[in-house]
């Protein structure tokens, strides 16, 4: 573009106009909206306007930059002055009057009236917002008055033509006229196709009223001459002038009519809207689209399949490429079908394109299905509040515009929220899986391949509580050990539970009873149990599923025996598994915990209650086993007392929990090999490290379970331990029959347990034998050494 030199007045004038047109303050005015209205108001022939736009480069750029706008205004002035439009005329024409723009509310109203009068026949579908056409007479009058304002040679021609406009304007043609009448940036090619306006849009204009509405909408939409706001401009005669300005042709007349109707519609829209969004769909337009949609798809909530839409839009004679692009823009959800909103957006884009608007690169906000969708709120998941906006015509425009950005924002938000929902659901499902895991643990308990402590619960708080519980009971737990204790206790609990259930052995009972005595309060036991469970749950991820969740037990703490049986049945495996897992954990613990063990036991026993040497896990089984425990308590008491005495001798400090857990677990889990291994392992290191400490754990289990074990205690720890285990197992077995008879499940579980016990015992046997051999060898070596030393003593 050439450099544009403007006088001061021109500069000011142009800047005012630019700011007026630059609604969104983007420093560039779109090639539609107010700019078009402005140019329309310039009362220039349509082709002149197009020429101006081309010259100023707006068509090239697609929008009006400030310079383009100024140039355009200058050219308008040039044209209005009657000078030929040339690029060089911008600066050559001197003393150019300021471009005159016809703009006034009155004018617009009159224009509306004129348009209405002309369109009265075709505007049946207009909503009540638009004032009824006053009649053509007014139009004529307006036109006459307008003539005085502008030197319009064609005015007269158009004037008489204008009344003819309406009849000639068939709805089908309106779109074409609109297209022609709007600036066509692409160089006026739209005008050529306009030669056959009728046929094309005939399919669209099935409803004349609808089409006329569309017409009005179009004209109102695309280059709406919003002139009511241009009060600054000299008042010009009424719309008729504008109408008459356009070239005398049917198309022009229709254009005029459409412009007038557009102004009417626009005015209405404008009055309500704060700013003009070129892509906004007015109500009339929307109604038209909806009607068209209905012709294809009666169900407004349904979809238009791609093929049908393709046929429909192919009628618009747009290039396939453009149609393809329109489809891309409008098919928001990429499903190959058009919802009502998508269809309206596509239709809107088609009309816009036909009228010369370049297709946007991305869907304008106003065309977003979400925003536009009012009827099909379900389809696009519109936000209800904002969706309802377009429902009310008067409120639609203003509500739409402000709501659009928010809707757009909410769109991603919704997506995000949906994502969040998805993730949330995933999380919930994962949590469910966790819970399921726990529940699965119960049935899978028979598996004895567990070597690790059974993780039952994973609540750290519970663990803490458990520890508190343990501390409460007087055990000297160290934090690190408590978890272990918990583990073992879990195992022991489980083993206890299982054994109590299955075996109902006195030994096991002893263990239980001891555990019971540990905390006379069943609640505490339950808590401990749960704590331990939770702890075990946390600690071991490695534990196999088999261990059934002792969890249910706390709930059954005071339940009836039946419940307990169920629980036992469920948890037997758990116990076993737990017991199995227990042994491995036992070894390290017993050493430090041995000392406190007896101490704890002693006081506990002193209470007369069965000390709950084992950690709370034992308590868990105890709770459900209350009924059973009561029977066992007697035994346990006796055993415990004996044990305690022995324990007192043997180990100064043994963590009661550990001990309890160990013996309990050993007793109960006797079946599991791992447990035995643990014991052996524990016993071996125990022997190595401490002479007495190892005895603590072993003695406990031994003591608890069998009186005979006490005898064994003095012997090698491992042996005692093992024997204790064996004894426990053996002892537990006899007790099996008691609980077995109650439930079928218990029977089955007991059978399983027996089998497991058998295997465990077999292994235990072999291991014990090996240990025995080792110990014997050590003994022999020691004796040899002793003998070697003796001679010296003799000497």
């Amino acid at each position: 573009m050439e450099g544009l030199t403007l006088s001061d007045a021109e500069q000011k004038y142009y800047s005012d106009l630019f700011s007026y047109c630059d609604i969104e303050s983007t420093k560039k005015v779109a090639a539609n909206g107010r700019v078009l209205e402005l140019f329309r108001a310039a009362q220039l022939p349509n082709d002149v306007v197009l020429q101006i736009m081309e010259l100023c480069g707006a068509t090239r750029l697609g929008y009006f930059g400030r310079s383009q706008f100024y140039i355009a205004l200058k050219l308008v002035a040039v044209a209005q002055s009657g000078f030929p439009l040339r690029v060089e005329s911008i600066n050559t024409v001197k003393d150019l009057p300021l471009p005159r723009f016809v703009a006034s509310k009155n004018e617009q109203e009159s224009r509306h009236a004129a348009s209405y009068s002309s369109d009265s026949e075709n505007q049946g579908s207009y909503s009540g917002v638009i004032p009824p056409p006053p009649g053509r007479g007014q139009v004529k009058k307006g036109s006459v008055s307008h003539d005085t304002v502008q030197p319009r040679t064609s005015a007269d021609q158009q004037e008489p033509a204008s009344p003819v406009v309406s009849p000639q304007q068939s709805p089908p043609t309106s779109p074409h006229t609109w297209r022609k009448h709007s600036r066509h940036p692409s160089g006026g090619n739209s005008e050529r196709p306009l030669a056959g306006p009728g046929p094309f849009w005939s399919p669209f204009g099935e409803a004349q009223s609808g089409s006329s509405a569309g017409d009005a909408v179009w004209s109102g939409h695309s280059p709406p001459p919003p002139q009511e706001t241009w009060v600054s401009f000299a008042d010009t005669p009424p719309t008729s002038t504008l109408l008459t300005m356009h070239p005398a042709s049917v198309q022009d007349q229709t254009t005029v009519r459409t412009v007038a109707s557009a102004t009417a519609a626009n005015e209405i829209r404008r009055q309500s809207s704060s700013y003009d969004d070129p892509w906004k769909i007015t109500d009339e337009q929307r109604q038209y689209y909806v009607n068209q949609f209905k012709t294809i798809q009666p169900d407004l909530n349904g979809f238009i399949p791609g093929s049908a839409a393709k046929e429909f839009f192919t009628k618009s004679k747009l290039p396939i490429l453009e149609l393809s692009h329109i489809w891309e823009l409008s098919d928001f959800d990429k499903d190959g079908a058009l919802t009502l909103d998508e269809f309206c957006a596509a239709f809107h884009l088609v009309v816009a394109r036909k009228n010369g608007y370049d297709l946007p690169e991305k869907l304008p906000e106003s065309l977003m299905p979400k925003l536009i969708d009012l009827e099909d709120s379900a389809d696009v998941g519109d936000q209800p509040g904002e969706v309802g906006y377009s429902g009310s015509p008067a409120e639609a425009p203003p509500s739409k515009s402000p709501s659009m950005p928010s809707l757009n924002q909410t769109w991603p938000e919704l997506n995000q929220s949906s994502e969040q929902w998805e993730t949330f659901s995933e999380r919930s499902s994962s949590s469910q899986t966790l819970t399921q895991f726990d529940s699965n643990i119960a049935p899978a308990d028979p598996d004895t391949a567990i070597v690790h402590p059974v993780p039952i619960r994973m609540t750290p708080s519970k663990i803490h509580m458990q520890e508190m519980e343990l501390k409460r009971t007087g055990s000297d737990h160290t934090n690190p050990t408590s978890p272990l204790l918990v583990k073992t206790s879990d195992l022991s609990e489980e083993s206890k539970i299982n054994s109590s259930v299955k075996f109902a052995s006195g030994n096991t009972v002893d263990g239980y009873s001891s555990s019971d005595s540990f905390t006379s309060d069943p609640e505490q036991i339950g808590n401990n149990v749960t704590h331990q469970r939770s702890h075990s749950g946390t600690s071991p991820d490695n534990t196999a599923p088999p261990p059934p969740p002792p969890r249910p037990q706390p709930s059954h703490s005071r339940s009836s025996s039946l419940d307990m049986n169920r629980t036992f049945a469920v948890t037997t495996g758990q116990q076993q598994a737990g017991v199995v897992a227990h042994p491995p954990a036992v070894p390290p613990r017993p050493q430090p915990s041995q000392a406190p063990g007896p101490v704890v036991h002693r006081p506990v026993d002193a209470d007369g209650l069965i000390t709950h040497t084992s950690t709370s896990p034992q308590q868990i089984p105890e709770q459900p086993n209350f009924a059973d425990f009561s029977q066992f308590e007697v035994f346990a008491a006796s055993n415990v007392n004996e044990e305690q005495d022995d324990e007192a001798e043997k180990h100064p400090e043994v963590l009661p929990v550990e001990k309890a857990s160990d013996p309990a677990s050993s007793l109960r889990v006797a079946k599991t090999d791992s447990k035995i291994e643990e014991k052996t392992a524990a016993s071996v290191p125990a022997n190595v490290s401490k002479g007495t400490t190892p005895l603590a754990p072993p003695p406990k289990p031994v003591r608890r379970r069998l009186k005979s074990e006490d005898e064994l205690r003095p012997e090698v720890d491992e042996h005692t331990q093992k024997t204790g285990v064996l004894a426990a197992v053996l002892a537990s077995q006899p007790s099996i029959p008691r609980s077995v008879g109650k439930d079928k499940k218990a029977i089955q579980a007991s059978i399983r347990r027996n089998k497991e016990t058998n295997t465990v015992l077999a292994r235990l046997n072999s291991e014990l034998q090996q240990q025995l051999k080792d110990v014997l060898e050590e003994r022999i070596s020691l004796e040899v050494q002793l003998e070697q030393l003796r001679p010296f003593s003799h000497l």
Binding site: P305, S307, K310, L323, S324, H325, E328, D331, E361
Partner: protein, 109 residues
């Protein structure tokens, strides 16, 4: 070169008659002595083949990158196909598709 790789693609397709689910093929072996480029093939369930030629001078793209690129390509292609105005076989004029592809290539290079 592309035609040659297409032949290889067909060859591979016929070979994997059993595992139709396999969507990914990497032709790292297609390195001619002179031309140092790699050709990646990708077949969709509808037997639409994507061939990607990558210049080896660029630090060899990781397998995952190639796969993600193919996935994106596949998604964009399905979006394009959804357009009823698009005739399979035509040149794709979709701007979104082009922009996606361009962005992908820019990201890689």
């Amino acid at each position: 070169m592309v035609h040659t790789s297409l032949d290889v693609v067909d060859e591979k397709i016929s070979a994997m008659g059993k595992a139709l689910v396999d969507q990914r093929e990497l032709y790292l072996g297609l390195l001619y002595p002179t031309e140092d480029y790699k050709v990646y093939g990708y077949v969709t369930n509808s037997k639409v083949k994507f061939v990607m030629v990558v210049d080896s001078s660029n630090t060899a793209l990781r397998d995952n990158e190639i796969r993600s690129m193919f996935r994106k390509l596949h998604n964009s292609y399905t979006d394009v196909m959804c357009n009823p105005f698009y005739n399979p076989g035509d040149r794709i004029h979709s701007r979104a598709f082009d922009s996606m592809v361009t962005s992908m290539m820019i990201q890689v290079c």
